[in-house]
């Protein structure tokens, strides 16, 4: 996950453990907020999400410290009608991958909050909980709009609404 930890190499393992532990605690703390939506993550599931994030960051040549993005995604998607305890961990895992991929594809032009808002809106209102539609249609269009300098990067909404 971290290709250049801020420490000398012999202590790298220790630093990685500290980071992972820190992120795990932050994610598990989210359970306090999501319980009202009948959503909880076990320690194992939280660990798996951290591993997913590690792989996603590696695949996109990005670095992140702490559990900030996972927490924010949980916060954004906790009230989605398409997420239940049954698919909570697996959906979050796919959303994490989607998020980092399109963070790069939108050239870092869209803030974390805006990107998550757009993902949530599309996921709930036009994709009806389908990650495939979210990735292959909605987010691709968004990335295209950003790359080609469209004034309204969300211009796809009207097209699909029609």
């Amino acid at each position: 996950m971290y290709t250049c930890l801020p420490f000398v190499s012999k202590n790298r393992f220790m630093a990685e453990s500290i980071l992972k532990e820190q992120a795990l605690l932050e994610i598990l703390k989210c359970n306090e907020e999501t319980q009202q939506y009948q959503l909880t993550l076990s320690k194992e599931e939280a660990t798996l999400l951290i591993d997913t994030r590690r792989d996603a960051l590696k695949a996109t040549d990005r670095i992140e410290i702490g559990g900030g993005t996972i927490n924010k995604l949980i916060e954004h998607f906790k009230d989605s009608p398409y997420i239940s305890q049954y698919n909570y961990a697996s959906t979050m895992s796919e959303l994490i991958e989607t998020f980092y991929y399109f963070k790069n594809e939108t050239l870092d032009e869209v803030s974390d909050d805006d990107l998550m808002d757009l993902m949530k809106e599309s996921f709930d209102q036009r994709c009806y909980g389908s990650i495939e539609l979210l990735q292959g249609r909605e987010m691709e269009q968004l990335a295209h709009n950003v790359r080609f300098g469209e004034r309204d990067i969300t211009s796809q909404k009207e097209d699909y609404d029609e």
Partner: protein, 456 residues
């Protein structure tokens, strides 16, 4: 006692840290690595420092992203980390003692050390701005492009674009002009400080001869405008050359013949003696010019040490003129020789016939004096089978030094090398013989006139 200077530590054996030659931007990493390896920090301190480092990195990433994003591209994250290391290292550079470093690591958080590092860099930046203003006032007039581009435009971006918060290890500038002793491994404000301080040292010597800089550069190479050449070195070497010849430092002017004399002095010295002799003379140059600071002495010594192998090689290859430059001095600039009209073919034929008919060499000389107004005609007469054997000697005796120099020039292949000449012609053999009979001083004077003469 442990000693730690800026960028270089000299420690007692058990606590020795060797950072010489390592990337100075990573001083903090090196200090930390050594302190941990040698067990000067407890496990708990190590863990705390690691966590604080990570927290600081996280804060820096968030600040860099302006709160818009938790993640960052790997390239930007690495740059931020390097900047963190540089700033923290700057805090440790200011220490004189490694024990202080250990105490600091134990007593202060990484965040505090980072803030203190930033504060020290800010102070350094302000000091450097003042030094840059001083440098701008001490520039010399030259057409050298690298010099002008660097000192008149290239350093300015640093003072406008240096980003302490996220890119303290960067040095946004366009530096082409090569210093005599450039520490390229330095980074960020350290590099700029080093460059400006050394530039000031170099200028303190160059300014003593500011009227002669262009002449010495011209002497170094006709295409000097486009070359990456260090002016300080040329000035220093010629000043040393002058003292070797026991001349004063009112000028840097050296004649070609004088470089040959320098060669005779230096070629007999073995390496250690050559080194110490040049060093002594170099220091004497500074002394005579009133440049007595330890900094300029140390810097000049560095340049001389660098030059010793080059001088040895130049002596070996008989190319000392690449080290000591024979330049055209303003007050003894080019001698402009405006030639008279050349003889028409018919007039030339009549003249050579008349000379040939003369029994006395004095009559021949009179005819030549009366009719010849161009050096090429004189040379043609000498080659026209109308002057014979010992008569050449008499003809040459009748000529002035200027005329003899022009004759030399008329056969010289390379203007920079008066000894490489066509030697087959009879008139020239007698000329050479005639010159050899002269005193060395007069020979040198004629060679010098030949060197400086430009024909129009």
């Amino acid at each position: 006692m442990l000693q730690m200077n800026r960028g270089k530590m000299e420690l007692t054996k058990e606590k020795q840290i060797c950072i010489e030659g390592k990337h100075e931007g990573h001083l903090f990493e090196i200090v930390l690595s050594e302190v941990i390896e040698k067990g000067y920090l407890k496990e708990s301190d190590m863990e705390r420092i690691q966590i604080e480092m990570i927290q600081l990195w996280k804060q820096q990433i968030e600040a860099f992203n302006n709160g818009r994003s938790y993640s960052i591209t790997e390239a930007n994250a690495k740059r931020l980390l390097e900047s963190m290391y540089f700033t923290l290292g700057f805090r440790f550079q200011a220490l004189e003692d490694l024990d202080d470093s250990i105490t600091l690591l134990k007593e202060k958080s990484v965040g505090e050390l980072f803030e203190e590092g930033q504060s020290l860099i800010k102070q350094q930046f302000e000091r450097l701005k003042e030094r840059y203003e001083e440098l701008k006032l001490s520039l010399i007039e030259t057409d050298n492009i690298a010099y002008n581009d660097t000192y008149k435009q290239g350093l300015e971006p640093f003072f406008k674009n240096y980003k302490l918060e996220f890119e303290s290890q960067e040095c946004p500038s366009n530096i082409d002009y090569p210093l005599s002793n450039d520490k390229m491994e330095k980074v960020g404000i350290d590099y700029m400080t080093d460059y400006i301080e050394k530039s000031l040292l170099e200028h303190s010597l160059c300014l003593k001869f500011k009227e002669e800089i262009e002449a010495i550069l011209e002497g170094f190479h006709k295409g000097y405008r486009d070359l990456l050449v260090n002016i300080f070195e040329l000035v220093l070497m010629n000043a040393i050359g002058r003292l070797i010849l026991k001349k004063d430092l009112s000028s840097l002017y050296l004649q070609v013949s004088e470089i040959e004399e320098i060669e005779k002095v230096l070629e007999i010295l073995p390496t250690p003696l050559l080194n110490s002799r040049l060093m002594d003379i170099g220091m004497e140059v500074l002394n005579q010019l009133g440049l007595t600071s330890e900094k300029i002495k140390g810097y000049t010594a560095q340049t001389i040490r660098k030059y010793v192998p080059r001088i040895e090689l130049a002596l070996e290859d008989e190319m000392l003129e690449t080290i000591f430059i024979a330049q055209k001095q303003e007050k003894e600039a080019n001698i402009r020789y405006i030639a008279g009209k050349r003889l028409e073919d018919e007039a030339f034929k009549q003249l050579t016939e008349r000379i040939r008919e003369c029994d006395k060499v004095e009559d021949k000389i009179n005819w030549m004096r009366e009719k010849v107004g161009h050096i090429d005609d004189l040379r043609d007469v000498l080659e026209a089978d109308c002057i014979f054997d010992e008569e050449y000697q008499r003809v040459y005796q009748s000529l002035e030094d200027m005329e003899l120099a022009l004759l030399l020039n008329s056969v010289r292949i390379d203007k920079n090398d008066v000894t490489e000449i066509e030697v087959d012609r009879e008139w020239f053999k007698y000329l050479k013989k005639y010159l050899e009979q002269m005193t060395v001083e007069r020979q040198n004077a004629i060679k010098d006139i030949a060197y400086r003469t430009v024909q129009f």
